[in-house]
């Protein structure tokens, strides 16, 4: 009773926890990038029809848009996917306390969005995540493709939204507990990111570039 376990946990999360998470995240990302790039690829001797590098860069951006007919075939994955990704970045980058984190870390800040808006985006993101989870369980293809990792990663992605929302709205445990859990959940996300499919957050750049490179040099659509 004479020390606050919630505050102790929060302090751990802000201190050693954050240190560990940062170290694992950065170690992992650099490791994975080196691991991938160092595998290299053979020089292509066939004369290109178009600039492969240009096509690679174009593909990095063009794949942000839905592809022909796909949105109609998989509406939940598309709508849910866009909402979640947009929501993730809006909440991460435009919630006042988060901005403060960047200000402290990188020395640059920017104006935030009002809390009610952030909360609305959080709820939308969570709904989107639930929707894509349901779509994963119900669609035979995604169900077949899914492994333990897919579900574990879903949980790890969902938790920061949930704990953040609960902390701000004083739901569940007392605020300090929720705050500590929120920070810890983000740290969990940071730790698993380099070693799960969440790596796509970084490697999609390479994947798209390679795809654009390989096919663009043939003059083919990418």
């Amino acid at each position: 009773m004479t020390s606050d376990p919630a505050m102790d946990l929060l302090m751990w999360a802000r201190g050693p926890g954050f240190q560990i998470a940062t170290v694992v995240l950065l170690f992992g990302i650099v490791l994975r990038i080196v691991e991938i790039l160092a595998l290299g690829r053979a020089r292509d001797l066939a004369p290109p029809k178009a600039s492969p590098a240009q096509s690679g860069l174009r593909t990095v951006f063009s794949r942000f848009l839905p592809r022909h007919g796909m949105a109609m075939r998989s509406p939940v994955i598309h709508i849910g996917g866009y909402l979640f990704h947009a929501g993730f970045f809006i909440v991460l980058l435009f919630f006042g306390p988060h901005i403060q984190l960047f200000e402290e870390g990188f020395g640059i800040g920017w104006p935030g969005l009002p809390s009610p808006l952030i909360e609305a985006v959080t709820v939308i993101s969570m709904v989107a995540l639930v929707a894509v989870l349901i779509a994963r369980v119900r669609d035979p293809v995604r169900k077949l493709l899914s492994t333990f990792e897919d579900y574990a990663v879903w949980v790890v992605t969902f938790l920061p939204f949930l704990t953040g929302f609960m902390a701000v709205n004083k739901l569940g445990l007392p605020y300090t507990w929720m705050m500590a859990l929120h920070v810890l959940s983000v740290e969990l996300l940071m730790v698993v990111l380099p070693f799960t499919k969440l790596t796509h957050a970084v490697t999609f750049l390479f994947a798209r570039y390679y795809n654009g490179w390989v096919n663009g040099r043939k003059g083919a659509a990418t």
Partner: protein, 382 residues
């Protein structure tokens, strides 16, 4: 009516006098019934009592016998006593405090030395099982000699005094949670009251210092209704049930994302939220934002300073006072660079192994021809 030091709690002229009822004392002191009822209403509101209970509170308080109080001061700064006695012009809560039978208080009592200790022992014997012990300050365990009174270590005095007490009030963050003396690296091995007391109710009234009306309010509650409901940190829920953040008048600015980024910027002048200059309001449970200080004049946030969260355990070690709560406490830039360097190294090592493996695979490549496209016969037939 005197106030301040002159209005110090009435010390009993003679040892062993029977305490009067509270109402009598108040009347003698010239407190009108209207003022008393106003005070009861205020307390009731503060404690979130249903309005119907206020008359019961008044009645109970009026009839309550002046409790004998033994006030022990250990590793402390006397700020808590100051808060109570010098806060502002005399008020009912001041008088409530005055009306208790304060039988022992280092700072306030006239007696000294053996006489003082005798007063304490007498009060303990006289009111055995009924007196209240108020403690301010933490107790050093690293060495009993760090803090003694009349040759008695704090720990011994606390345990001795608490034995016959009805309840113990740990006033201030030092008594409640160890406070400043316990701050890292805690050179005296300071602990809180609750760390030493077992089998007796301990009510924590933290704050550095606590709000005066909260101290008297808890006493009033104790007198009227007995032990108040406590949160998981031993604090009366009636006063510590809500976060500063939730009752803060600057909260709308937080919700709109409008923050002061310094103490002299535009945001600060416009009175915007102090979250980004380190306000601990979101994790601090106290009544400052509602009761305020100095007879309701103001409170730190209103004065433009972020809440330090002084009513929380270990607030002194909670990172920079002027740093936002969720901000990492450690600078990770160096670690980050190191992690990336190690990652690159590990990546290079794995890649070297990978390259060797691929070279081996290339060397081991046997030309695929139409003769070896199929499995050996016995297998191919399966």
């Amino acid at each position: 009516m005197s106030h301040g030091r002159a209005g110090a709690p009435e010390l009993k002229d003679s040892l062993g006098a029977t305490p009067d009822a509270l109402a009598d004392v108040l009347r003698r002191r010239g407190v009108s019934r209207r003022a008393f009822l106003n005070y009861c209403s205020l307390l009731g509101a503060l404690m979130a009592l249903p309005p119907a209970l206020v008359p019961r509170l008044a009645h109970a308080l009026e009839g309550a016998r002046r409790p004998s109080v033994i006030w022990l001061s250990f590793q402390e700064c006397t700020g808590c006593t100051e808060s109570l006695t010098r806060s502002h012009a005399p008020s009912v809560e001041d008088l409530i405090f005055q009306s208790i039978s304060l039988d022992y208080h280092h700072t306030l009592q006239a007696a000294s030395g053996a006489a003082a200790e005798a007063a304490r022992e007498h009060a303990m014997k006289e009111n055995a099982g009924k007196y209240l012990v108020v403690v301010d300050g933490s107790i050093p365990l690293a060495n009993p000699g760090y803090s003694t009174i009349a040759g008695i270590s704090n720990k011994d005095m606390l345990l001795d005094t608490a034995r016959g007490a009805a309840a113990i009030l740990a006033v201030g963050t030092c008594a409640s949670y160890g406070g400043l003396p316990k701050a890292d690296p805690n050179p005296t091995g300071a602990v809180a009251v609750a760390d030493l007391i077992t089998g007796k109710p301990v009510i924590n009234i933290p704050g550095c210092p606590p709000i005066p009306v909260v101290i008297t309010g808890v006493v009033a509650h104790f007198l009227a209704f007995g032990l108040p409901g406590l949160d998981d940190l031993g604090r009366p829920l009636a006063f510590f049930g809500e976060r500063i953040h939730d009752r803060c008048y600057r909260r709308p600015f937080y919700d709109r994302g409008l923050f002061a980024h310094g103490f002299d910027d535009d945001g600060a002048r416009k009175g915007w939220c102090l979250y980004k200059v380190g306000c601990k309001g979101p994790v601090a449970f106290n009544a400052c934002a509602t009761v305020k200080w100095n007879a309701g004049v103001s409170f730190p946030i209103e004065a433009g300073h972020p809440c330090l969260g002084c009513s929380q355990p270990d607030f002194w070690d909670g990172g920079d006072f002027y740093q936002t709560l969720a901000i990492p406490t450690e600078n990770v830039a160096g670690l980050a660079m190191g992690a990336m360097a190690v990652g690159a190294g590990a990546g290079a090592a794995v890649s070297a192994l990978n390259t060797a493996k691929r070279k081996t695979a290339k060397k081991a490549h046997e030309t695929v021809t139409i003769e070896n496209l199929e499995k050996p016969k016995e297998k191919a037939e399966t």
